[in-house]
């Protein structure tokens, strides 16, 4: 069941959830719309570094309400904590945060956050993208030492939908707190 506090748009395959979210935000899609993709063809992180995004992972971007830049910065940092907490609470795994944007498990990257803004006179639009390696079975050789997934660490699959709901709900709550 969808939470009425946010709206989820699912895509089977997409170039990048952040890209899509930006497009939709420009066309007037309402804040707290969440773009979810089963896989991204051109997922990226900071400085456009590719984010390995095969089927099984949880890739989503949230169209944020117009906020102050300082609040968005804070929210980006907080989102890493929220992801880390969700992993710890749900799976009892030891999580580390590599400030400001990455979440590590076993010293390997398990999640990343990228906030993108379009700024003119004021903030025109903001999207917050999260890539979470949930049910990825194997990484390519060049990433094996740098990335891991919940499935690899736990030895079992996790519920993407459940994690998504928890993370978005928490982010909404936190933004409310820092903006008011």
């Amino acid at each position: 069941m969808q939470d009425p506090e946010f709206k989820i748009k699912n895509f089977k395959k997409i170039s990048s959830t952040n890209q899509k979210a930006k497009e939709l935000a420009l066309r007037g899609t309402v804040p707290w719309t969440v773009i979810v993709a089963e896989k991204q063809i051109a997922g990226y992180g900071k400085e456009k570094v590719p984010w390995f995004s095969p089927q099984g992972g949880l890739y989503f971007s949230i169209i944020l309400p117009k906020s102050k830049i300082e609040d968005l910065q804070t929210l980006t940092i907080i989102s890493a904590f929220i992801i880390a907490k969700a992993i710890k609470d749900n799976f009892s795994l030891e999580v580390l945060i590599k400030l400001p944007n990455d979440v590590l498990l076993n010293r390997k990257k398990v999640a990343g956050v990228l906030t993108e803004n379009v700024i003119g006179k004021d903030v025109k639009l903001s999207v917050l993208g999260i890539g979470l390696n949930t049910n990825i079975e194997k990484f390519p050789k060049e990433l094996e030492d740098k990335a891991t997934s919940l499935k690899i660490e736990l030895g079992k699959e996790v519920d993407n939908e459940n994690l998504l709901q928890k993370i978005v709900k928490e982010l909404k709550e936190q933004l409310k707190t820092i903006s008011e």
């Binding site: 400085e47 968005l72 980006t76 944007n101 906030t115 993108e116 803004n117």
Partner: protein, 127 residues
């Protein structure tokens, strides 16, 4: 010599009262005006000030936040439209696309790629 002049639908009666080598005295309606070499100069400056002023105040785009200019999308001399993408400004936590607030020609780009900028620093001046 008298003649009538119609400006924007309104008729003015103009009479040339004096016509010297460097001086002309005319009467428009009930008012007299003298134009000479000196008066002409004054006249010109008066006309200039009466032209509706164009907005020459600087159109500057400043960094909304401290960061690094990771990409520049325009060159000096380019015509920039309002809302056109001009820079990517990367910060520790975010990627920011800086768009123009104005239409105008890129007069001066004050930053280079990979340059660190402070909040409030002017990045580009348009004209």
């Amino acid at each position: 010599m008298k003649f009538k002049l119609k400006i924007k639908g309104k008729e003015f009666e103009v009479e040339i009262l004096e016509e010297g080598e460097d001086r002309v005295k005319i009467k428009v309606g009930e008012k007299e005006f003298i134009f000479g070499t000196e008066e002409e100069k004054k006249g010109v400056s008066l006309i200039q000030t009466s032209i509706p002023k164009r907005d020459f105040s600087k159109k500057e785009i400043k960094a909304p936040i401290a960061g690094v200019i990771s990409e520049i999308f325009v060159k000096e001399g380019d015509f920039v439209k309002r809302e056109q993408k001009i820079f990517f400004l990367s910060t520790m936590k975010m990627e920011n696309e800086i768009i123009s607030d104005f239409d105008g020609k890129a007069k001066e780009i004050l930053v280079k790629k990979n340059q660190e900028v402070k909040e409030g620093e002017t990045l580009i001046v348009l004209e």
